[in-house]
Amino acid sequence: MKHLLSIDDLSTDEILQLFETAADMHDVQSREVKKLPALRGRTVVNMFFEDSTRTRSSFEIAGKWLSADVINVSAKGSSTSKGESLRDTVLTVCAMGVDGLVIRHPASGAAVQVSQWVDAAVVNAGDGMHEHPTQALLDAYTLQRHLGSLEGRHVAIIGDLTHSRVFRSNVQCLTRLGARVTVVAPPTLMPSGIGAWSAAAGFETSYDIDAVLPEADAVMMLRVQRERMSGAFFPSAREYTVGYGLTRNRLSLLKPDVPICHPGPMNRGLEIAADAADAAQSVVLEQVSGGLAIRMAVLYHLLAGDTWGGIA
């Protein structure tokens, strides 16, 4: 693996191997000295063309705990907005001897394109509405820690599917690991052509959250991305919540201890009620710590040489 651009870049074995490495990395978090020497002498640039706090911080800490030199470049409003092409911008940064480039971009496919221009290993930290592979890995990793194997487990992904890179990566990752996935959204927030896509990829679709929740072994709520919406996708926030929100009343539909995920930031009161976000079975903060472990594992496998055998 030279880059991590999509879940599709990973075999099932590689995903499971990443989880094993992540479990080791997870242990580092409880050490007094949170430092491994694995990436000493390596330089990682976090190049974010779009605002992000949690993902950027997670990659930054992951790199630093592995002893890499980590630089953050907030590329939003920088050279590309002055007319420079994306290619020139990333080539300029990479000319400084970068080993790994973690890229977040508001345009789908940007990370794929960048990987064709640079020699550095590229990690897709979210590209437009396309993919967010480390988020999917951390979600699956978190769920696996709760549920054991995901084989045959039923995961409901609910919310703004059209604009969600988290959904696009998760549906690949979870089905790859043997989970049964049902996605739920109003028709206006279902991606175009999802009928053919779901049939080919082996997941299910539904408009009825109340029918899906009682069957779910895990629930993944997605943020309603109002900033990406240029049209009338639903009549009102109130109607969305009534139709598709994980409300306090709907918590009672869930089987006991069903983990509730959310990639954050949460719109409390819109797609998820505070009671659900703060419920005992909410794993939102575990996703964050698991995310750090996953990103350490990804950087380690990409940058520490031929190391698919686990950490020393």
């Binding site: 092409s85 994306l86 789908s108 052509g193 999802i194 240029s230």
Partner: protein, 422 residues
């Protein structure tokens, strides 16, 4: 310079010699002292006419100039091109149109016919000076806001009514801006859903085609549909033509051969407006061109400087090169299309739609000597670096295309000899 074109097969049918006199007109008898072009095994067609070319001058001479675009056109077998109005400044005045026409004459390789904007600055609000552009030396007859749709129905109605006075035609870029959305860049379908690219649904084209057909019927005027891309639009055109509504339509070579699947790798070379569509649309377009529902092939040749394509896919410029390769693409997409039909859709009909009386004429005495000679049996592997265009956004690079343009003659002047600029 007089010419004898020896042994050409006219429209792939009877073989005979063509004689061109010093004035650049086809004549009955061999002129004395004429240069001879050996056309044995070559098919002779009237010089090709492109209804839809972007030459980028004025404003973006780093991407193309009228000279380099003319060179590319000649290499593609063209003797006339219609230069779209979305330059900078926009071709929306008689002066601007005349300047483009003059630069075309100076280049002298093809007839460069300016297209005038329908609305001032392509803003879609006020009519440009349509009549003055028509009365200028450039004699503008085709008007288009191409790149943008004249989406206000009232403005479109007025434009259609106004150009009736002088027999003009409005060429529409059919794209409902609300239905397509501001970021639309990929055919809306399963692939756009998976790739997370903003979709450009076929219906956004079809509703405008349907509306404009009805406006043409209402006004009794002529509307031309630029770069038709969907099976639904074809249905509307078929319906309209059956009722005698004055509508014509063009299809690009790339919409006859390439499909939306090419976007899987996010390569902006394949980003074009309207977007590449699925195979079922491509099939419908081929059928419609063959049966005459679609009247013409037009290249939508859209050169872009390299840096304008080296952005993230949604931010990269729309468009691809096409004028040097159009004939080969059409022959590759539709190998059973007769040479007569190739001449009809790439020369005769486009010339008629554009009102270019000197172009697209039968190759017989009395016609201006605008001729292209094609080797039908040689395939060409496209090399983007061998292009005369200043740009390299060539979707055909590395592909093998059927038929090779060997010689082009424009008004009796050989502009391309043995596949190279003369």
């Amino acid at each position: 310079m007089s010419l004898v074109i020896k042994g050409a097969s006219l429209l792939g049918q009877q073989t005979r010699d063509l004689y061109v006199d010093d004035a650049g007109v086809l004549v009955d008898e061999a002129p004395s002292g004429a240069e001879t072009i050996d056309a044995d095994g070559l098919v002779a067609l009237p010089g090709l006419v492109d209804l839809h070319t972007h030459l980028r001058e004025p404003g973006r001479e780093d991407a193309e100039t009228i000279l380099t675009g003319s060179q590319a056109a000649a290499l593609g077998g063209y003797t006339a091109v219609l230069a779209m109005a979305n330059t900078s400044p926009v071709t929306d005045t008689a002066e601007a149109a005349t300047r483009v026409w003059e630069l075309g004459r100076e280049a002298g390789l093809v007839h460069v016919q300016p297209v005038g904007a329908v609305t001032r600055g392509l803003a879609g609000e006020e009519l440009a000076e349509l009549g003055l552009m028509h009365r200028s030396r450039a004699a503008v007859n085709v008007f288009s806001d191409d790149g943008k749709c004249v989406h206000d129905a009232r403005v479109m109605r007025r434009a259609l009514e106004y150009v009736k006075a002088f027999g003009g035609v409005v060429s529409q870029h059919s794209q409902d801006p609300a239905l397509a959305g501001p970021a639309a860049c990929c055919h809306e379908g399963e692939l756009s859903g998976r790739l997370g690219l903003p979709g450009w649904p076929g219906i956004a084209e079809e509703v405008i085609v349907a509306r404009d057909v009805m406006l043409a019927r209402h006004t009794g005027s002529r509307v031309h549909v630029a770069h038709v891309s969907t099976a639904g639009s074809v249905e509307v055109l078929r319906w309209a033509k059956a009722r005698g509504i004055e509508v014509t339509a063009e299809v690009t070579p790339h919409h006859l051969l390439l499909t939306t699947d090419l976007l899987t790798g996010y390569d902006p070379t394949y980003k074009v407006n309207p977007p590449l569509r699925p195979q079922e649309d491509v099939d419908a377009l081929r059928e419609a061109l063959t049966d005459g529902t679609i009247d013409a092939v037009a290249t939508d040749h859209a050169p872009h400087a390299r840096h304008d394509k080296e952005h993230a896919f949604v931010d990269a410029a729309f468009g691809m090169l096409g004028i040097e390769t159009a004939l080969g693409v059409v022959r590759t997409a539709l190998p059973d299309l007769s040479w007569s039909d190739v001449a009809r859709v790439m020369s005769t009909t486009p010339a008629r739609i554009a009102g270019l009386a000197e172009q697209g004429r039968p190759l017989e005495p009395g016609s201006p000597a605008h001729v292209v000679l094609v080797d039908p049996d040689t395939a060409v592997t496209v090399d983007r670096d061998a292009s005369a265009s200043l740009s390299r956004n060539n979707p055909w690079h590395g592909r093998s295309l059927t038929s090779r343009v060997v010689h082009t003659v424009y008004g009796g002047r050989v502009t391309v000899r043995d596949g190279a600029l003369a």
